[in-house]
Amino acid sequence: MSLTLALVVAGLVAGGVFLVLQRELTRIVLGFALLGHGANLLLLLAGGRAGRAAFIEGDGPTGGEVDPLPQALALTSIVITFAATTLLLALAYRSWEQRGSDEVEDDLEDRRIARLRDETDADLEELTDVLADLEGDTGPGDGVADVHGELRP
């Protein structure tokens, strides 16, 4: 195999990762495309060294053909990457269209969860009160009101 190709794969992936980590959606999409290139090339690389294309001349394989399977995988992968990239692009565009900016903002829902702790505590207090009644540890003289009344027909 070729050291150069491995380097190219590494370079494409590194560039793609750097872009994906940015905040602009378009850059993320571009990074995704770069990652796709890297992955396709890596698939091909797994087939071994460069060689003759995998076509059958005459009656059968003559040897020296490159491995066709990674190529077939890469072929489908290229088209899928195209479909996915354009979908992301459409998403990015729609986001920009709606908000006038294509930056990824922090998820507000998640931020709220971090502040949830106090609310949970309040809920739990209520639960505790209910359960204390339920435990029914009504010793003589405790005088707990009748909370166990049933649904009556």
Binding site: F55, L75, T76, I78, V79, A83, L89, A90, Y93
Partner: protein
Amino acid sequence: MRRSVILETVIRAELPVLLVVSLYLLFAGHNQPGGGFAGGLVAGAAYALALVAGGAGAVRRTTRFQPTTLLGAGLLLATLTALVPLFTGNDLLEHDVLSADLPVLGTVKTTTALFFDTGVYLVVTGLVLLVVTALGPGDLDVGDVDATPGDGT
């Protein structure tokens, strides 16, 4: 946007040629470079050119198919091709070799895999067509009912 008359004319002449090329790629794909992916992309690219040159209206004039129709038909065709062998007692996706003696072309040999590949071709064409019409129109469009004039037109 200003339209180039020359480009438009050339494209109008080119479009059928490109479509023939794409069909050639599809049919030759089993034995030579090409296949449903490449063929579909060429067909899609031809329409993309037409779109850039003449707007969505031009594309609509040349093809009566909605992109989504192509997508659905393609997947349906591929799935049916995959399923038919089940009814004839074979495994899923098993293909048969067909040969026929045609008057002009002589003996033509092909396999039912061609139908499957045609499905792929249709899906890819549909995808490209959809991408260019979905992302493209707007201000590029002239005479398109859906589009509103953009600010640069």
